[in-house]
Amino acid sequence: MDPTFKPPPPVGSSPTTFPPLPKLEILNPSTLPPHRFLRPAKRINEGPDVSHFLTSKAYRDICVWILQLNHALVPRIIKKSTAAPTTAPKPTDEQKAEANEEPPKDALAAKLQLLRKKRDEQLLPREEIKTFPLPSSREGGLDNQEPESIQKLQRLLKKVEAIIDEAPPDPGPRRFGNVSFRTWYKLLESRADGLLREYLPGGVLRWEGAGTTKEERQNKEEEEGTETETETETEGESDKKTNEQKPEVVGPLEELKAYFLGGFGSAQRLDYGTGHELSFMMFLGGLWKLGGFEGEENDEDGEVERRIVLGVVEPYLRVIRRLILTYTLEPAGSHGVWGLDDHSFIPYIFGSAQYTRPISSPNEPTPLEGSVPNAPKPSDITKATAVERYRTENMYFSAIGFINDVKKGPFWEHSPILFDVSGIKDGWGKINKGMIKMFNAEVLSKFPVVQHFPFGSLFQWEKDPEAGVPVQSVHMQNQPVASAASAAVTGGVGIPTERPSGPGGVTGTAAPWAQAPAQAPGAGAGMPPPMTAAPWARSSGAGVGPSTANRFTPFKPSGGPGGAPNTGPPPPESFPSGTPGTASNQFAVTKAPWAK
């Protein structure tokens, strides 16, 4: 038992006194005028746009959604008599909890504890604490206990994961990120419509036909089709795509698809980071808004939310970890040891919530300190054996376990932030509170992270009339704002055409001030990445053959990068998103933080 555990407030402070906690609004499909779905578009184009984002309705919804899920994971104090029939308790946990209680350190504390316990028992007869560990038997994959919406999403993730088998990592020499991830991603992109149609929870389909006419939708679809064609030139997949594209494709799927596809990393940069994770969380948030999760109306205590996190988010993270391992995806914008984690943030929020001090009423706010009895100590994350033990039940330990899998070296050195957090004395509630604050500052408030987040009808760019002024942190003050200045210098081309694609489809690299190259990279650019042949081996001339001489770009080109004034953002053709340029093929390559 955590020594800092603070007993729950006496039950006398009536649970009914808490006002209801905010929840993400569920839209009503029968309101008029009907909801109009919009194709999500990039809006954050330069540093200062982040300030607007922090006062937008989308930001409000993101916060509400994350906090709502977080709150659902906090352990509950339940009266046995009422709890037994309604919920399906995991009895082993509670029994374990009572049986394994650590003996307190000294006699005085022991006495105190005993007294407290007695008092508690008198006050709260037949109470038990319910925790929400990860489901234990995940090997088979699907959990038949889950409601249909959760099962469907689990199947969706299984399908997504199975694509890995169709795109085995390229065995050839490479620098780091595996180019086969581009194949994987193209397959996902080409199948996304079909997959979503098949596996989206049924409630979402109520929205089909809302807002747009069939004609409009078809036009939209065609547009989209051609765009994907130009960006992804893969033979074979387009057939599949047309097969899966049925004329009934409607607005909501398209809008959700942007967040879904944005959740699986960047094919162009071969990376994955917290921005992608956020995109997937908001895909789930969008489903919620559209009433995709059944049973919500009768759920007073976050059961649906818990199933979403434990039954969908954690399996999603597992798919992501497999993608990272398979294709050695680079941590997007890695801060090296000075980031919380190379790729993830959300498991640290939800995992700490799982161990937070229990609450006794559904509307009791998330505790800001204290741990649930029998939780591992925060310092246990530095012990490999403890991590192995708890990684199957807790999302925080699950994430730490993955770090231990991939990193060599002292934990305190390669993960100093997590190491420091492990010294916190006020329990997992304190950690949870800190993680949420940090998420707000390091993920939601960072231009490099949120710049790709798309805005549509579900998550709106419009200002939230009730929004306060965003708090400026040190890092927010120091974050790049210069792209705006730079755009001004180069002729005000700061706002590139809004690409309708989600975070995943953004070409991403075209800094607005970057001048068009003197010539489009020739055929050589489309070739596979260079063989990492023995560095001393004499090249037989690939890339420097006679054709090179012909393509040679003389200096002082009239319209070249040398002196030509900026002519605006380069056309996409000048840098195909699929270009396996070696520079993009590597681990922890430093991206200009001001890069779009």
């Binding site: 980031g339 100093p416 916190i424 001030w513 010539q519 890339g543 922890a588 200009a592």
Partner: protein, 421 residues
């Protein structure tokens, strides 16, 4: 023992020095660096290193493998800071060594030696955590602005010097000149590669003959072609060291010398490109996926080297799993000196040794200052020689792995970030 020596000893033990000492050190360093040109001239022998990224213990391993300063001359091609745990100790130690042995240590600027990049990628956080304020970060950033942008290595030998370590491979047959030698961390020769025979050379030549002659060199005898080659003995050609790569705005090394470098790294322009660009298997120039700098192909490198009398460009900036990677017929090499980068990449690191030319033709005096810069070889012309790639200097790569970790104990936990208070 001077204060400086004491600081060096303390930093070698991986212990930060007090804030006031940092301030003084940075002040002294600036006085030295301000005297250096944008392109520093360095004479062989010299050991060239790539990115370190705060991997202090691996830097110690590098010194063990490459020889301790000042006994070995070092040239570090930037990216001392960010991502690693010990950026502060790493940079301050290198800076101390620079102040103590200015002619034996050369530090040039990487794209991470910048205010904006260090706030994003960790050095700022590290300084704040280690000192409780951003003052030290500010002092360091002021030094960054004075770091040179590149270096020219002169007087490197065509032939490999005898290896200090024991050779596990019999020396090559007589007559075959060794061009590349790869050693492991114990100094044992892992492989040797003779210079290609004449056939290959003519092959090379025929290929480069298709390239139009450079148009920007001055006539023989003019200032623009004041060649170091042939007059002061630089048989192997000069080696340009720069962190990232080339810029479409820079066709001659002398143009680098004209830049005003004493500023934060700009988002675009020549100075930015030198620190951000990458070579790639493309023709000509391409956009960089990094969002700064450019990609450049083999043709660009070959013409640049040819025009500038260079035999090789050494650069860093990109992780290479094998520690080093020569590209484009050995006209450019990437050197990477951070083993097991970010604790997870599993790569080895390398350093590149260029030995002193012992042909007796004489070597330019080392000059850190601006005087006689035109002797630096960078402005060399081609008027008097055939346009063909120069024979590169003999190159010895020493490959090493991450330092063992058993000696590092677990520290006390630090106060956590504000978020958790």
């Amino acid at each position: 023992m001077s204060d400086l020596d004491r600081a060096i000893a303390q930093l070698r033990a991986c212990r930060p020095i007090p804030e006031s000492d940092v301030r003084e050190l940075c002040h002294k360093a600036r006085e030295i660096l301000i005297e250096e040109g944008n392109v520093v001239t360095v004479n062989a022998p010299v050991t060239i290193c790539g990115d370190i990224h705060g991997q202090f213990h691996d830097l110690m391993e590098l010194f063990r493998v490459g020889g301790d300063p000042p006994d070995t001359n070092y040239l570090f091609m930037g990216d001392f800071v960010d991502r690693g745990f010990y950026s502060l100790e790493t940079f301050l130690l290198l800076l101390c060594l620079k102040v103590r042995y200015p002619d034996r240590m050369t530090l040039i600027r990487g794209n991470h030696e910048s205010r904006q990049i260090t706030t994003v990628y960790g050095f700022y956080d590290e300084c704040y955590r280690k000192y409780g304020s951003a003052n030290v970060w500010r002092y360091c950033c002021d030094v960054f602005d004075y770091l040179a942008l590149g270096a020219i290595v002169l007087g490197a030998s065509n032939t490999i010097s005898p290896s200090a370590g024991e050779s596990s491979i019999p020396t090559t047959p007589e007559g075959d000149e060794v061009e590349i030698e790869v050693c492991n961390a114990q100094g044992e020769v892992m492989s040797r590669f003779p210079r290609p025979n004449n056939g290959t050379n003519s092959d090379l030549q025929s290929r480069t003959n298709g390239i139009p002659p450079p148009s920007n060199t001055g006539p023989p005898g003019s200032g623009a072609s004041g060649s170091s080659r042939g007059t002061v003995g630089n048989p192997a050609g000069a080696v340009l060291c720069v962190h990232g790569g080339l810029s479409p705005l820079i066709d001659k090394v002398d143009k680098i010398r004209l830049l005003d470098r004493k500023q934060e790294v700009p988002h675009e322009g020549a100075m930015c490109d030198l620190l951000w660009s990458d070579p790639d298997e493309i023709d000509g120039w391409g956009l960089s996926p990094r969002g700064a700098g450019f990609l450049f192909g083999a043709d660009i490198v070959k013409v640049f080297n040819h025009r500038n009398d260079l035999s090789l460009i050494a650069r860093a900036h990109q992780l290479v799993m094998e520690g080093f990677k020569e590209m484009f017929d050995a006209s450019i090499v990437t050197v990477w000196s951070a083993p097991n980068y970010c604790y997870r990449c599993g790569n080895v690191a390398a350093l590149l040794e260029l030995s002193e030319d012992d042909s007796g033709l004489g070597v330019l005096a080392r000059n850190n200052g601006d005087v006689n810069r035109s002797d630096g070889g960078g402005g060399g012309g081609l008027g008097e020689s055939e346009p063909q790639p120069m024979k590169g200097p003999a190159r010895r790569y020493r490959v090493f792995q991450a330092a063992p970790q058993d000696s590092r104990g677990m520290p006390a936990k630090k106060p956590v970030a504000d978020y958790f208070l």
